[in-house]
Point group: C2
Chain length 260, copies 2
C-alpha cells in the first residue's frame, strides 16, 4: 500500500518503520515541525511536509498518529482527498473521523513506544475498527503484514483497553520511578531493582497477576506496612499511595478468600 | 558447603535449587509442614524434618527463609549448634539473629519468586550483611557461586531496598491485576495487555523510568483523565488510586520542568 504518515512522534516512528519493513511505500510524512518530519521521512524514504496543503492525494491510506485533540482538525483537512484514513488513538472514537468521511477506521497499537528502543512490531496487539466491514477487512489485511496479534475492537471496547493500559503501563512505570527515588534518597542505585522489575512482568506473561501477588499487603503483614509508612514520613503523597494500593491488595485478597 | 534450609516456601525452594546446582550439599530441609519439607527435600536430595529438635548439627550454614515474625524463635532454637546462620528477609534486621549468636548474617535475594516459574538465579541481586568482616567475606564467596549480582548492604539499606521493592514489584503486580479486572468487566482478555506489560518493564532495563513516562497524566490530558475517572464510577477505590497516581506523575513532571 501507499501510506501517508501524519505525525512524527513515537507511534508514527515505529509504525512507519514497520510498514516500510513489510514492503509498503511511505509516500509522505507530515509534521508541524519540519525537522521532525524530515528525520522520520529520511528513515523511511518518504517526502517530508509541514503544511496540510502540501499533502499529496496519491496515496491509499492516511495514518493519523498525532495528539488526540488535534485529530478532528486534521481529519477535516484530509477528508477532501476522499481516501481511507485511520487514527491510532486509544482514547478517540471512530466517530471523530466519521464526522468528516465514511472512509475511516482505527488502527490502535496497544503498546508503549519510545524513540530510542526498538519494538518487535510482530508482537504488538493491533486493535482495529472500520467504518464498515469492507474497511475492517482491508485494515486486517494490512495489520497482519506487520503484526501477529490483530483484534477487532469497537470504540467502546477501545476506551476500556486504553484505561486498562494506563493501569498496566503508565502507573507501573510511575511506581518504578518512585522506587528509584526511594533508593536515590538513600544513595542506592536503581540498577539493583531492574531484575525484580523484569521478573515481575515476566511472571504475568504466563500466569494471572492475582495468582502471583506477593509482598507485605497480601500477607497482611501490618508490622512491615507500618514500618514502610514510617519511612515515607517526609513524602505524604507516597504514604497515601502506599496505603491505597495496600488496601486494594488486601481487598482483592479478602474477596478471593470469601469466594472460596 | 553443607547447607541446611529452614523453610519450604518460594525463597527456600529457589535458593535450595540454586545452591544444589552450584555443587553445594543440602543436608536437611525443615518445614512445620512435613509434606512441603519432603517435596523440596526430594528435589535437592536432602532429608526432610518437621521438628527443630531433629535438625542435625553437621552443617556449615543454616539458611532461615521463613515468615519474618517466626525468624527470632527459630534462630533461638538453632543457636545451640553454634553454626553460621543467615536469614533471607528484606524487612528483618541482622540484630534479630545477633541477639542469639554473633555467627550470623543476611542473605537477601532481591527478587520475586513463584513456585511454578524458574528464575535464572545468576541475575538475582543478592544483598549480603555479616556480623563481622570474615562472615561477610564467607557469604560473598558463597553468593558468587550462584549469582553475578552480589552487594554488601547494611540493615538500614536493606529496609530501604525492601520498601523500594514493594513499589517496583508488589504494587505494579496489583495494577496488572486491576487492568485485568477492568478488561474482564467488559468481556476482554488479559492476554491483550501482556506485550504492553513486558515492554514497560523492558524499557527501564536500559533507560530510567522518569525518562520514559507515557500516558494521559504526563501529557496533562485532563479530558482523557476525566473520562477514565467516569468509567471507574462504580469502583471508588480505583478512582482514588487513579487520581493519586496521576497526581504523582504530574508532580514529577512539574518538578522536572521547574529544574529545567
Amino acid at each position: 500500500m501507499r501510506i501517508t504518515i501524519i505525525g512524527s512522534g513515537n507511534v508514527s516512528t515505529h509504525m512507519a518503520a514497520a510498514f516500510k519493513n513489510a514492503g509498503h511505500r511511505i509516500v509522505q510524512v507530515y509534521s508541524r515541525d519540519l525537522q521532525k518530519a524530515w528525520l522520520l521521512a529520511y528513515h523511511v524514504g518518504a517526502e517530508a511536509v509541514d503544511h496540510l496543503d502540501h499533502i499529496l492525494p496519491d496515496t491509499d491510506l492516511f495514518v493519523i498518529a498525532i495528539k488526540d485533540d488535534a485529530i478532528a482538525q486534521v481529519a477535516r483537512a484530509l477528508a477532501v482527498h476522499n481516501k481511507l484514513m485511520v487514527h491510532t488513538s486509544g482514547a478517540t472514537d471512530l466517530d471523530t473521523l466519521i464526522a468528516f468521511t465514511a472512509n475511516a477506521g482505527v488502527f490502535y497499537p496497544l503498546q508503549t513506544f519510545s524513540k530510542v528502543r526498538e519494538v518487535s512490531f510482530r508482537s504488538v496487539p493491533l486493535c482495529l475498527e472500520g467504518g464498515n466491514d469492507e474497511i475492517l477487512a482491508q485494515l486486517k489485511e494490512l495489520a497482519y503484514t506487520i503484526s501477529n496479534n490483530v483484534y477487532a475492537v469497537s470504540s467502546a471496547q477501545r476506551r476500556v483497553l486504553h484505561l486498562a493500559a494506563v493501569f498496566a503501563c503508565n502507573f507501573p512505570n510511575y511506581l518504578y520511578n518512585t522506587a528509584r527515588q526511594v533508593l536515590a534518597r538513600n544513595q542506592m542505585d536503581f540498577e539493583m531493582l531492574r531484575p525484580l522489575i523484569l521478573e515481575t512482568a515476566l511472571k504475568v506473561q504466563e500466569q494471572m497477576p492475582g495468582e502471583v501477588q506477593t509482598g507485605p499487603a497480601v500477607r497482611n503483614d501490618t508490622g512491615t506496612m507500618a514500618a514502610h509508612l514510617q519511612m515515607l514520613n517526609d513524602t505524604p503523597l507516597l504514604q497515601d499511595i502506599y496505603t491505597l494500593l495496600s488496601q486494594g491488595i488486601i481487598k482483592n485478597n479478602n474477596e478471593i478468600s470469601a469466594n472460596g
